[in-house]
């Protein structure tokens, strides 16, 4: 599993406060803790109004790179902002995200076509965020066509088939996994990821739903997640599912994560 740590995000109230107060220590700690917990990329989202988004992101990126070596995932819905941040990042990471909205692919693909940048691609377009698997799949196809035309290899694309909220869309998980399966079938080289927690919006005990969703989605080929790697419940579900899907040979990762205290409470001798 390729884990994208989601915690440095100004739409999370505690992070927003730290960003507003330019609390360096807090941001550094978020970066370090997520890296220690196994994050492969650290998502960085300013969560500020557009007029101060760029300076805020630049400040965050500088801090994170100074604290850890984990690659950065530049997160903005504005492709121009992403383009301005790319030169500030020391080593190729991820861009989050493109979709089939407006000219996002056309704007970003030329700048990342050569090189190692990974790309998160969302299955939405100017018509909205579809709930139906057919439409999700159709949009993925349109994005893939554009990626192909720029010579971007499949394994650099991380499709997020945008899971809906199960509280309002009963088929949220079913549609997500069906769309993800079909995307993987059609484009076997791509990765499948998900901003998992959207599924449980408006529900009590969200972690129960998030954990089970992670498991079901991994069973359908999800090989990446945008999540809180410091949350031990989610990590337990992740490592256990890897074992059950025979993705963790000899349970090596599960056991070392357990010994490292990433989840579970070790029994006293």
């Amino acid at each position: 599993m390729i884990i994208i740590g989601e915690k440095i995000n100004g739409s999370i109230p505690s992070a927003a406060k730290a960003i507003a107060e330019r609390d360096e220590a807090y941001i550094r700690e978020l970066a370090r803790k997520q890296s220690e917990s196994g994050a492969d990329y650290l998502d960085v989202n300013a969560g500020t109004p557009p007029d101060i988004e760029r300076e805020t992101l630049a400040w965050l990126i500088g801090l994170v790179q100074d604290e850890v070596d984990t690659p950065i995932c530049i997160d903005s819905s504005n492709p121009e902002t992403i383009l301005e941040m790319i030169p500030l990042v020391k080593k190729p990471g991820m861009i989050n995200s493109v979709s089939d909205e407006a000219n996002k692919c056309e704007r970003l693909f030329p700048h990342v076509a050569s090189g190692e940048w990974k790309i998160i691609a969302l299955t939405c377009d100017d018509r909205g965020i579809p709930a139906a698997p057919d439409r999700k799949f159709e949009i993925a196809g349109a994005i893939m066509k554009k990626a192909d035309s720029f010579g971007i290899a499949q394994d650099r694309i991380f499709f997020d088939a945008l899971v809906n909220t199960v509280g309002t869309t009963p088929l949220a998980q079913v549609s997500f996994t069906e769309a993800s399966r079909r995307i993987k079938e059609a484009f076997p080289g791509v990765h499948l990821t998900s901003g998992l927690s959207n599924i449980s919006f408006g529900m009590p005990c969200r972690k129960a739903i998030n954990q089970c969703f992670l498991t079901l989605a991994m069973n359908s080929g999800l090989d990446s997640a945008i999540m809180d790697p410091t949350n031990s419940d989610m990590r337990a579900a992740l490592y256990a599912t890897q074992v059950l899907l025979a993705l963790d040979e000899d349970c090596v990762d599960y056991l070392s994560a357990y010994r490292g205290g990433l989840f579970g409470v070790p029994k006293k001798p």
Binding site: S11, P49, E53, G128, I129, G202
Partner: protein, 211 residues
């Protein structure tokens, strides 16, 4: 008679749409005034759901089924309300701003406002400022509700506020705003009329604005 209205409210709260429709029909045939059925039956029930939602006692799926039950009841009631010339308390247009495709919050606000007896015109997502203005004029709405989930699109809310405040319906139409990145400070800064942190509060605020 009040027993029947109480039954309507109670069944609405647990989402029994069919029963609510039947009970509304019975209330009408018993000669209970339609306005009373609406206020003391349907809207009373949704009011309780709204308060419980705000207090984290009921959750999104439960609000949805209650709203569905209310709509079933309203369908039965509508002809009777129309016959007596009773119109909605007020009218509001609602939409997610340009560049933003998120509609869960917007839909919840819409439901909660309907639950307060306000007629809602839903413009959907990715709504440009001009569309908010046109729709407010076309429908004679007294409130425009703008939602944004992204920090990069919240600036569009300001564009809506500016367009409406500089139009010929300025002063006649209030602009309510909300969404994850929105704060009261932002509301004050851009000169919107009202900010609400959640759907139930938004409905309360809307009711206060039109009364």
């Amino acid at each position: 008679m009040s027993e029947l209205l109480k039954e309507i409210s109670e069944n609405l709260q647990i989402g029994k749409a069919k029963i609510v429709a039947e009970l509304v029909g019975r209330a009408l045939s018993e000669g209970i005034p339609p306005q009373k059925i609406l206020d003391d039956g349907l809207l009373a029930g949704m009011g309780i759901i709204g308060a419980k939602f705000k207090a984290n006692e009921v959750f999104v799926p439960e609000v949805l089924v209650a709203a569905r039950a209310m709509n079933k009841g309203t369908e039965i009631l509508k002809p009777a309300l129309a016959a007596e010339g009773i119109s909605a308390k007020g009218k509001a247009v609602i939409g997610t701003v340009k560049g933003d495709l998120h509609d869960i919050g917007k839909n919840l606000v819409k439901m909660m406002m309907e639950g307060r007896g306000i007629e809602m015109v839903d413009l959907g997502v990715d709504v440009p400022p001009e569309r908010f203005l046109e729709a407010a004029k076309e429908h004679g709405a007294s409130i425009v509700c703008c939602s944004a989930l992204l920090t990069t699109t919240m600036g569009e809310i300001k564009n809506v506020v500016e367009l409406i405040k500089s139009s010929d319906i300025a002063g006649k139409v209030k602009v309510m705003i909300g969404g994850a990145p929105i704060t009261r400070a932002y509301c004050d800064q851009i000169g919107a009329d009202s900010y609400s942190p959640d759907a139930a509060s938004a409905a309360e605020a809307a009711e206060a604005l039109i009364s």
